[in-house]
Symmetry: C2
Subunit: 230 residues, 2 copies
Amino acid sequence: MGKADFSPIADTTRRAEIVALLRRAILTGQLEPGQKLNELRISEQMRVSRAPLREAMRELVQEGILTSIPYAGTFVIEVTAKDIDDAYSFNKVTDELAIERAWPLRDQRFFDELDRRHEAVKQATRALDTTRQIETALQLHGLIYEWADNSVLLETWQRLTSRLQMYFALHQQARNEAVPAEDVHETYVRLLKGKDMRAAQRHAREHIDLDFEELLAYARGLEQRPSKGI
Amino acid sequence: MGKADFSPIADTTRRAEIVALLRRAILTGQLEPGQKLNELRISEQMRVSRAPLREAMRELVQEGILTSIPYAGTFVIEVTAKDIDDAYSFNKVTDELAIERAWPLRDQRFFDELDRRHEAVKQATRALDTTRQIETALQLHGLIYEWADNSVLLETWQRLTSRLQMYFALHQQARNEAVPAEDVHETYVRLLKGKDMRAAQRHAREHIDLDFEELLAYARGLEQRPSKGI
DNA sequence: GACAAGCAGATTGTCGACAATCTAACAAGA
DNA sequence: TCTTGTTAGATTGTCGACAATCTGCTTGTC
């Protein structure tokens, strides 16, 4: 009889769709940091009433990519160099934990999924789709969190992911350069398949070091000049 | 001229008040795990319309103490032994980071605040106010997070706090025993004032070990018998 | 009696309108 | 000129009603 394992059916509420739409707009940089979200305008554009829109915005406020001031408005969060530095320091520690927990649980399915996600990054890189490249890279990185079998750890990663994606997107958008052609994740994937856990942890730490250093330099540059208004 | 430093004025929206009310009800166990929140009933009891109530509920869903199923309802999260174990494992690591970061930033204000919060715990203990005891103990513990000067770390702690408070409240409520008369935080406070950071980290880890062990035993016991309906 | 179809009743999701509040421009007075 | 009070416009917060969906019961059929 039926061995089919169905995935959860799609969210059927407008609210959920609005959350997805807004999140995407923020993470791809369509909505800039500091920008105010005008409820009436957005609800008219989306052809929705303000109620589900406002509920969606509350979710994103709690997710940490919007911030709300009563009677003043809801804004996309500003990104400071310290924010990035904080996220970076924190991520170092959680990465270590995630690898430690996921390590003994690695199996064939893990390795297959690892390859699959790695392939997705490479494909996005070849296609020069920077947005998708950031997205897939974070998904590749997220596998150890999904495999660590710790709900709090996973949840924390997912929260952090939103902001990291936003940071990287801003960075990419700003420098407007061609994406690196070579594959920087090759070593990471190889180590996760190997036998030396410490080495994997060390590499993860050093790897994100590189990315973050670039980000930090960018953010510090931003903070030199005054932020332009809306 | 004026040297007064004013704290931000109180939240003036119904929504914020509702969030506080609901959170308190959940964290003190007035609303039991698994219980459904009937929007109409609650909004009538609070003399508020459903709009701000629903927005408040979205916030608490993202905070992790409520869970929502479209067209079915919003429920207080169920607490499993694994949830507690996950939170515990995770907290070990973040504690270590928090102490490490806060350590060089300790100053007189830190020590004063430490004493103040310690005193609050002792007072709640003397007054046999278990709810307040849990609350103040977590606030005492949270000081290292506030002092660590890392926004992501602090935010993560605040999210975790909600659930920890809920776990402990359930536990206390269930065993219905007198609270421990002696002060278990004495050593913790002393070590945080001392010179040996490693010792403080070790103690924090072992200290929460004790609390969590009890909690885990309780939660495992719960899962033996089937949960009663609403 | 078992089972499926269909029908209330209750509850959540969404809408449009009104009330409360903020912002910015302008006027009045020291 | 600077400050303070006022006012109009825009925007957010809140409300009550309607639509969509779920649940459990009833009914009819075999």
